[in-house]
Amino acid sequence: MCSVKRLYFITGKGGVGKTTIASSLAINLAEHSNVIYVATDDPGKEIKNLLKSSGAELSILSLMDSTREYLARKIKSEVIASWVLKAPIFKTIFDMVPGFGLLILLGHVTELAINNPDKVIIFDAPSSGHMITMFESLANFKKILGQGILVKDIDTISNFITSNDNSQIFVVTLPTMMAINEGIELKDALERLNNFQVEIILNNSMNCAEIDQSAPLPDFLKTKLDLETDILNQHSESLSKKLAYIPELNQVTIIGQLMPLTTQLV
């Protein structure tokens, strides 16, 4: 475990299991490190309790709160920051240009990593499209702004997350052709933006589940397995990290069973 990074982004489409994997990984790493679990959506009471009992710290950030905190620090006044954010013009800009809020969120999370050198940050990050908007905002706003304090902050963020020792992006996907193509496109898009280190995690893999394929199987399951094998063969280089389908319904049980499997991720 000597290669543990400082900041992990877990992204992918909605419903692929980002939160499940992010919390399993956080709990796994919390055995040996100080972990902060960061998310924009509340993962729910059960998962929060699970994370807390593993020793991980939790930080649930909303875009608005994140922006307010950042602004307050920059202009050294919480009152003015709240006031600015409440102004109709700011709200309108905020709604119409989502990249702005996402950039501040990214800055917030990166600063958390920079200011806590002894901790590992697991970020249950926004889903695919927002993830690209968030990372593209680094370059976009640098171009728009040209100069000033914000550009310096943007450079600090970029430098930190493009260093491979510091950060790692995981794109979670499911074993269907469309989902995998989309995962690969997201990986390519992020790598094209900058020197980010991106890896794909195939979640819910039936081939990795403990199914004896020589024994009789119902037709639909056999077809599912065959389709998945085809996809795996076609994309063997991109899909080195696989997590098995866990035949359970309760999310906490799934996280528990997935936890040891996430060792391969770090």
Binding site: V84, S128, G129, N140, G148, I149, P218, L227, P247
Partner: protein, 350 residues
């Protein structure tokens, strides 16, 4: 309600498909388009989702994004002898070009901020897609426009915030920007009022501290330029009114039996509350119900565990959807790797 029962839902001028990512939204929207086009309707299939799964399903060229492409139905299903549908991958840049043609607001092409925000992931894609959709609706060329929206609540949030966009086109607001652009002594009382209440001047002052003067100037220019095309934007925003209208729109919320986050459909429903009417449907995609074996006796305990977990998961999702009060339709999981086969098979559900 079992899978593969024909639905016979009458088509409307706008058919909107939304749902979380990876549930098969694009494939299902395309299957609806294929079904309606086959029956002779003139169809425009539009994807606003920047991830553009549609290009994979229809074999479109990304380079043509922004232009309407005619797709012969036999490209999807070879057994269909004739007929076509139109498809469009949204491209913010082409929409800006259209706005400039219409309004002669040439500055829009030059402004650095607008240029950057109009990139596919730059953040202006929603407002521009509404402009594009309203344009096609106004042209009245199609019986139905079928919309494949970006995943999740995002698009709904955008529709909800449409009302706020009006703030940009409030006359006193723009007068204020004119003033900020070129301060004059002739400042009206109402303008002073707006300046104070919106706090715009102070904010721009703060902004300048961070960003330098050139950004603030460009920003004011951007707002001003957008304002010169205000008729187009104000008309576009009325698109959301059509979506609330039972006689104009059908709503389809798509989810999947294998989805890991069933609560998202609820969030979607709550978010879209203001829009949903009697002709709103939930589609539970990738249903395994009809694929299930009659008896599980011959399988090992591990296999049975997997089968049971899949059955139970679908049951949970379905029961949960029943409580939503919206009619839920099941679409069977298509076990094939070809997107065209998926669309062809799914179109039989309609």
């Amino acid at each position: 309600m079992t899978a593969n029962e024909k639905q016979n839902i009458p088509s409307k001028r706008i058919e909107l498909f939304c749902g979380t990512g990876g549930v098969g939204k694009t494939t299902i929207a395309t299957s609806r388009a294929l079904h309606l086009a086959k029956s002779g309707k003139k169809i425009l299939l539009v994807t606003i989702d920047p991830s553009k799964r549609l290009k994979e399903v229809l074999g479109l060229n990304e380079e043509n994004a922004g232009d309407v492409e005619t797709i012969f139905l036999n490209r999807i299903d070879q057994s269909i002898k004739s007929g076509s549908l139109d498809a469009l991958l949204m491209n913010p840049k082409s929409t800006i070009k259209y706005i400039v043609e219409k309004t002669k607001a040439k500055d829009m092409l030059e402004n650095q901020i607008i240029k950057i925000l109009a990139k596919p992931y730059g953040g202006m894609s929603e407002i521009l897609s509404i402009v594009e959709l309203k344009r096609h609706l106004n042209e009245n060329k199609y019986d139905s426009i079928i919309l494949d929206t970006p995943p999740g609540k995002h698009f709904i949030d955008f529709l909800n915030s449409c009302k706020k966009i009006n703030i940009f086109f409030d006359n006193s607001f723009i007068e204020m920007f004119k003033y900020l652009k070129k301060p004059t002594t002739n400042i009206s009382k109402s303008l002073i009022g707006t300046l104070i209440s919106s706090g715009a001047k102070k904010i721009l002052g703060y902004l300048e501290n961070f960003t330098g003067k050139s950004f603030v100037e460009q920003f004011i220019d951007a707002v001003y330029t957008i304002h010169t095309s205000k008729e187009i934007f104000i008309d576009a925003v009325t698109f959301s009114e059509h979506l609330k209208d039972l006689s104009t729109s059908n709503w389809f919320l798509v989810t999947s039996a294998e989805h890991n986050k069933p609560t998202e459909t609820h969030d979607l429903k709550v978010g879209a509350q203001e829009f949903l009417h009697k002709d709103s449907f939930i589609i539970l995609n990738k249903s395994v119900q009809t694929h299930l074996p009659h008896s599980c006796d011959q399988y090992s305990s591990n296999v049975n565990k997997v089968i049971n977990s899949i059955i139970e998961k679908e049951k949970c999702v379905y029961n949960d959807l029943l409580t939503s009060g919206i009619k839920t339709i099941r679409f069977q999981d298509i076990l094939d790797s070809s997107p065209q086969v998926h669309v062809t098979e799914l179109s039989k559900n309609w």
